[in-house]
């Protein structure tokens, strides 16, 4: 029998029992859609958390812990390791940097670092260039915004009061210095965190670059970065207002190792651990999280599969009825020479058709549900809890990757075929003589 004729045959029988087939397809659709939507929550949450982690941290960064700082030899050794792009030493200064520009001033964290390494790791700036002279500095994206004069401070205080009355807060983004700071000279002094009365003498620096906007909306970055060559100048400036013992604690080094790609983080991490370093990378956290979510997703798919199995009972019933109803027809087909294999195939095609149709509709519905849930749930949750958290952050409640569609389709169509198998076998076993004796 030609394949087209087989399809015709199946189509004819489906047409004859439209209602019954429709209800069976409906059950299969509901089962499969339930499976996809349920599992999509697992995929969605994983996606949200993963993005959250990745947007915060550089994935190629390996943090080094421990009190011991690296010696130059150690840095060289690590730099020589395969796939290590660079080792960046960032020295945080244990005193606030007090900056003065025109009638404005701000207080920020101060970092000293090797500008070449820093450029390699940080990449493109928001504007300007990396320092080449010792007196050139880079500032954070929000540095200009935090440079306030008296009028700004008053305005912010006003707005803050208003915001507090409404239960929110004001971040001060409408005040500060509005023009570009690149090329501007500022005066900078050091102020120990322990007291805010004594202040070191002011030094003049030129701002040559501004770093990119931090990935989080709520993060205010007004850090000041200067070249490592300024370390001695800072130390002597600071020594003038402090006793000797404090000077030792002025600088605190932090080492970060950068791999050339995310895939290479793990081998580097293992090598460093073998050598006895305490190291950490965000990819480790991702790995643990991925394992957790893998288990969660398998669990959700398993629960969803139960729905598909329930739907399969419907398919089994429909196909058993179909075979019973058509016993005489099957008998005639066999009598005039249809092989048992053909008869089995015709019935399997029918149950497969139900499975495929149910799955296709289910996939479409699932995407619709997923889209609607992602659009509506944050609004609903906001209304219910009164919190902005769900709207502000990009939480994906439901995400359907193509892999999930493939898995769910395979389960759904597979189960449909299996549940049609027994009725189809039954059809091949029909006794021709008995079947032909059946009344019309």
């Amino acid at each position: 029998m030609l394949f087209k004729d087989q399809l015709d045959f199946v189509a004819q029988h489906i047409k004859k029992n439209k209602m019954r087939v429709f209800m069976t397809v409906l059950a299969a659709t509901m089962g499969c859609a339930f499976l996809i939507v349920l599992a999509s929550v697992g995929f969605g949450l994983q996606d949200s958390i993963r993005n959250d982690i990745l947007s915060n941290e550089t994935v190629t960064k390996i943090q080094v812990f421990g009190e011991s700082t690296f010696t130059d030899e150690q840095v060289d050794e690590i730099k020589k390791m395969e796939h290590v792009e660079t080792v960046l030493e960032t020295i945080s200064v244990n005193a606030a940097a007090q900056s003065y520009f025109e009638d404005r001033e701000t207080s920020s964290e101060l970092f000293v670092t090797n500008m070449q390494d820093f450029e390699q790791v940080t990449g493109k700036l928001f504007e300007g260039k990396y320092p080449t002279q010792p007196t050139e500095i880079i500032v954070g994206y929000h540095f200009a915004q935090t440079l306030l004069n008296e009028a700004d401070r008053n305005a912010i205080e006003e707005k803050n009061k208003k915001a507090e009355a409404e239960g929110t807060y004001y971040d001060g983004n409408e005040e500060g210095y509005k023009k570009s700071l690149v090329g501007k000279e500022i005066e900078l002094s050091l102020m120990p965190y322990t007291s805010n009365e004594t202040e070191s003498k002011k030094m003049t620096y030129t701002i040559v670059g501004v770093t990119k906007e931090p990935s989080y909306d709520w993060m205010i970055d007004n850090k000041v970065y200067m070249s490592v060559e300024q370390k001695d100048a800072l130390a002597s400036n600071f020594a003038a207002i402090n006793d000797e013992s404090m000077e030792d604690q002025l600088f605190y080094s932090e080492f970060n190792i950068f791999a050339d790609s995310m895939e290479n983080v793990k081998p580097i991490l293992e090598k460093l651990k073998d050598k006895g370093y305490s190291v950490y990378s965000v990819t480790e956290q991702l790995e643990q999280m991925d394992v957790f979510f893998l288990v969660l997703k398998i669990g959700l798919i398993f629960v969803g599969t139960i729905a598909v199995l329930i739907a399969s009972i419907g398919i089994f019933n429909t196909m058993t009825m179909a075979v019973t109803e058509r016993t005489r027809e099957i008998g005639v087909l066999k009598a005039i020479g249809a092989s048992p294999k053909l008869i089995q195939r015709l019935f399997l095609m029918e149950s497969t058709f139900i499975g495929i149709l149910g799955t296709v509709i289910a996939v479409a519905i699932s995407y619709a549900i997923s889209f609607t849930a992602n659009a509506l749930l944050p609004v609903v949750l906001k209304a219910a809890t009164g919190e902005d958290a769900f709207v502000a952050t990009d939480i994906t409640f439901s995400f359907i990757p193509w892999q999930l569609v493939v898995i769910a389709s395979a389960i759904s169509i597979g189960v449909a075929m299996i549940s049609g198998y027994r009725p189809a076998r039954k059809a091949t076993k029909i006794d021709v003589i008995q079947a032909l004796r059946q009344e019309l």
Partner: protein
């Protein structure tokens, strides 16, 4: 063409574990030559239907051999037997056994579909044959819209469409009135004469047996040759 030797078959009747063995075929021997009409006459329960079913390959005999066109068919498996039927046999049933959901045309077309023949060729063949057996006017009618005689004609056309060398008929006129019976018997005779088709007719009706070249009487599982 058909050579049957020492065919034996027993039915088990009754409850499981307490079955009785009832012999239905007790060593049947006969031969059918090409182009012959052979009638096997017998009362109900004589074993004639069992003989036909074994001949057609719906059942396997306990013992004995059936050679059709020199091929031993008693030992074919289900799939082989189905393929053999499709090539060698046409069936004419007492109740016509038409597909209720298919038109007369589609019913006749069915064996060609099973043979995997393309639609264009099928259409041409069926049209020609319907013309020959006088069914053109009712091509689009469903079985329940046809008279008994027309239904049997459709059934005969379905049996003929694949040009099988042998036609097996089980009480071909059993459900028809005597006038229509004559029509059908004449049709069988003319097909035999014109196309040289071989017919094996199973019947309880001596009237039907009159068109046969040779006649066998089935009696309690034994087959006895009779003079035509």
């Amino acid at each position: 063409m058909i050579q049957v030797d020492n065919l034996q078959h027993t039915f088990l009747i009754g409850k499981k574990g307490k079955e009785k063995r009832v012999p239905v075929l007790k060593g049947v021997n006969f031969e059918v030559k090409r182009g012959e009409i052979v009638a096997i006459v017998g009362k109900s329960g004589s074993g004639k239907s069992t003989l036909l079913q074994i001949l057609a390959g719906f059942m396997k005999p306990e013992q004995g051999s059936i050679k059709i066109n020199k091929q031993e068919t008693a030992k074919l498996n289900e799939t082989e037997s189905a393929a053999f039927r499709l090539r060698q046999f046409g069936f004419i049933f007492q109740n016509f056994q038409l597909m209720p959901g298919l038109t007369a045309f589609e019913n006749i077309e069915l064996p060609l579909k099973l043979q995997g023949i393309s639609k264009a060729i099928r259409k041409e063949k069926v049209k020609k044959l319907m013309d020959k057996v006088g069914l053109t006017a009712v091509a689009d009618h469903y079985p329940n819209e046809l008279s008994g005689g027309q239904q049997q004609r459709v059934s005969i056309a379905r049996a003929l469409i694949t040009n099988p060398p042998i036609l097996l008929a089980d009480e071909p006129t059993g459900s028809l009135d005597s006038e229509t019976e004559q029509d059908i018997l004449m049709l069988i005779q003319s097909l035999n004469r014109e196309l040289g088709l071989t017919f094996v007719i199973i019947t309880h009706d001596d009237e039907v047996a009159t068109i046969a070249h040779r006649r066998f009487r089935m009696y309690d599982g034994d087959l006895v040759k009779e003079e035509a």
